[in-house]
């Protein structure tokens, strides 16, 4: 490895790129197929996949918005993912700070246990709760309940993503602020938070995507007015028997934030996906 000459590097570029090509075909193929199908007419989707000359259309998307009022489902997804991200941040930022400053790594790990428990375990009690408080027929309550449920995803994620950022803040800055007579809250707000801003943006993006993608809680708890994108796309399967174009357009819409994230924040994605096991 250390005796790396330009010549040796040149020789292995070709086989490595050949490997990349195979991997790309296998692992990007279905995603490209989804995006492509989202822009094809249904007659063409049900035709040959080798016929790449068929015309492209926006029809599947306009159909989603005109016939199925997708704007509302997108709004619902935004409310749930946005709400749970915001709450996760409000609760998670101070918690991560305390974990770092008091070296409570074990407490941080406890929150991660929430990730390990099967989601269905939370759904049943939450469903009983929702029936008892009348959430199924009350849109506002239903949104609140879904946001609370999605906190189970966003809160541990926020805490775990923020810990390394707080670790990087030099303690001397806080000591200086303390000598100037700042209280804990002032120090936290005026010294720590501004320095942790990059971390906050990472936590916001990843929490939002993970909450946006999450399927199970809304499947069990949402009512007709609060259905988010993944659940309406699932309900679609039964309705439009062979409207594959619509299904693929819906899938593309669901995946859009994640695709943007892969482009802009991929470095942090690994940590988010591995729950902090790999930096």
């Amino acid at each position: 490895m250390s005796t790396d000459t330009a010549q040796a590097r040149g020789r292995r570029i070709v086989p490595v790129y050949a490997g990349y090509l195979v991997a790309a075909l296998v692992f990007f193929g279905p995603v490209v197929f989804m995006l492509w199908s989202a822009f094809r007419r249904n007659v063409d989707i049900t035709g040959s996949i080798f016929d790449i000359t068929t015309p492209l259309t926006l029809g599947n998307f306009t159909n989603l918005f005109e016939r199925f009022a997708f704007v509302y489902y997108i709004r619902n997804s935004f409310v749930i993912a946005g709400g749970s991200t915001l709450l996760g941040l409000i609760l998670g930022v101070p918690a991560a700070y305390v974990i770092v400053r008091r070296r409570l790594a074990s407490v941080g790990f406890l929150t991660l246990l929430a990730r390990m428990a099967p989601g269905v375990m939370f759904v049943l009690p939450l469903f009983v709760l929702s029936v008892n408080i009348g959430a199924p027929s009350n849109t506002g309550l239903n949104f609140l309940l879904l946001i609370a449920a999605h906190l189970i995803i966003t809160l541990p994620l926020c805490i775990w993503l923020l810990i390394p950022f707080f670790e990087d803040i030099p303690i001397s800055l806080e000591e200086a602020a303390m000598l100037d007579g700042c209280s804990v809250i002032q120090r936290f707000r005026n010294v720590v938070l501004p320095l942790a801003l990059p971390g906050l943006s990472v936590a916001v993006t990843l929490s939002f995507i993970f909450s946006w993608n999450f399927f199970l809680f809304a499947l069990a708890l949402a009512n007709n007015d609060t259905l988010p994108l993944p659940v309406i796309a699932f309900n679609f399967i039964g309705q439009g028997a062979s409207d594959y174009g619509g299904l693929m357009a819906a899938s593309a819409l669901i995946s859009l934030p994640a695709f943007l994230l892969t482009i802009f924040a991929q470095r942090w994605l690994v940590r988010g996906l591995t729950g902090g096991a790999v930096k």
Binding site: V98, V107, L113, M116, A117, V120, N213, Y244, M248, A277
Partner: protein, 318 residues
């Protein structure tokens, strides 16, 4: 949780006093700036308690009582739900399905992940960008993944059968045949998570020290022997982290299965998690579903524990 925090505060203080004479005392105990910060954590602790601990306790209560579909509960019934579970062939079927998917997916994902991880660890221009793009399957919403694979697996119009047809293989009933459907579901999971596995392994390979390899070269070891007897043992901690993460997710296998087959055909893809969900929300037997879910939690914790133990043994060995 509050109790844990108080204890650790005390321990930290004691540590500070005990090491008073040492110059690096700040490293041992909480720094002065860390005093009095813990109330900032209180909201998160309380919410976690409400969101995580209460539901688990309630599930335990449900599992030993009898909640009816109309919402009434006839009270404590002892082990009735659990003994029913042990006599339920559908429960044992779902255990079998869960273990099948777990073993098949994990083995294939680890082997392919090693190969792809090696590829991703080699330094060539564009490596970082390609590595990032490889995350796309893992980050795509599982519902979207399931939907596109539904189209790929479509018996008559699907891409999979069209490709098979092009190379002269008879069409396969991917999701309609109880013998094939579990494999089809496994393929989707393998597709979605192998790159993720590879990425973790690639990071591990790139952080390997070069000395042991050079020593092995001097001893005249072949490349294969170096990889097998030097690289693999050194990589074990990284691989086991990846395996543990996948294990936790595979045992709880839900989204893809529920969207694609809802556990069918003939319960051939009915994982424990899907069975638990269907029992609760389609059959409306909350108490029995609670018992099923607790057994799933036990399974998750047991497997996680087993791996932790195995990992510790591995570390000692090398």
């Amino acid at each position: 949780m509050t109790a844990t925090m108080t204890t650790s505060t005390k321990t930290a203080r004691r540590g500070e006093h005990g090491k008073d004479h040492r110059p690096t005392r700040r490293r041992a105990g909480p720094a002065p700036v860390a005093r009095g910060v813990w109330p900032l954590m209180l909201p998160a602790v309380i919410v976690t308690g409400f969101l995580v601990i209460l539901p688990v306790l309630y599930t335990v209560w449900l599992s030993v009582s009898d909640r009816r579909p109309d919402g009434s509960n006839s009270g404590f019934v002892g082990w009735a739900n659990f003994s029913r579970m042990l006599d339920d062939p559908l429960f044992w079927n779902s255990v079998r399905v869960t273990l099948f998917l777990f073993v098949v997916c994990l083995v294939v994902e680890t082997l392919l992940g090693l190969a792809l991880g090696y590829l991703l660890s080699i330094d060539v221009p564009g490596r970082r960008i390609f590595q990032g793009l490889m995350l796309i399957p893992a980050i795509t919403a599982s519902v979207a993944v399931a939907l596109v694979w539904l189209l790929i697996y479509d018996p008559s119009l699907g891409a999979a059968n069209q490709i098979l047809d092009a190379v002269g293989i008879d069409p396969v009933v991917w999701l309609g045949d109880p013998n094939i459907a579990p494999w089809s579901i496994a393929i989707v999971d393998i597709w979605q998570w192998t790159p993720f596995m590879a990425l973790i392994i690639a990071a591990g390979i790139r952080s390997l020290p070069s000395d042991p390899f050079e020593a092995a070269s001097i001893d005249g070891a072949s490349n294969w022997r170096k990889a097998r007897h030097v690289g693999l043992p050194l990589l074990m901690p990284v691989i086991s982290v990846a395996v543990l993460l996948r294990t936790v997710d595979l045992v709880r296998f839900f989204d893809t299965v529920y969207v694609m087959t809802q556990g069918g055909p003939v319960n051939s893809t009915n994982t424990l998690n899907v069975y638990g969900y269907r029992t609760a929300f389609i059959d409306q037997q909350a108490s029995y579903a609670a018992a099923l879910q607790l057994s799933l939690l036990v399974l998750v914790v047991a497997i996680a524990g087993l791996f932790t133990w195995w990992r510790r043994r591995q570390t000692i060995e090398y």
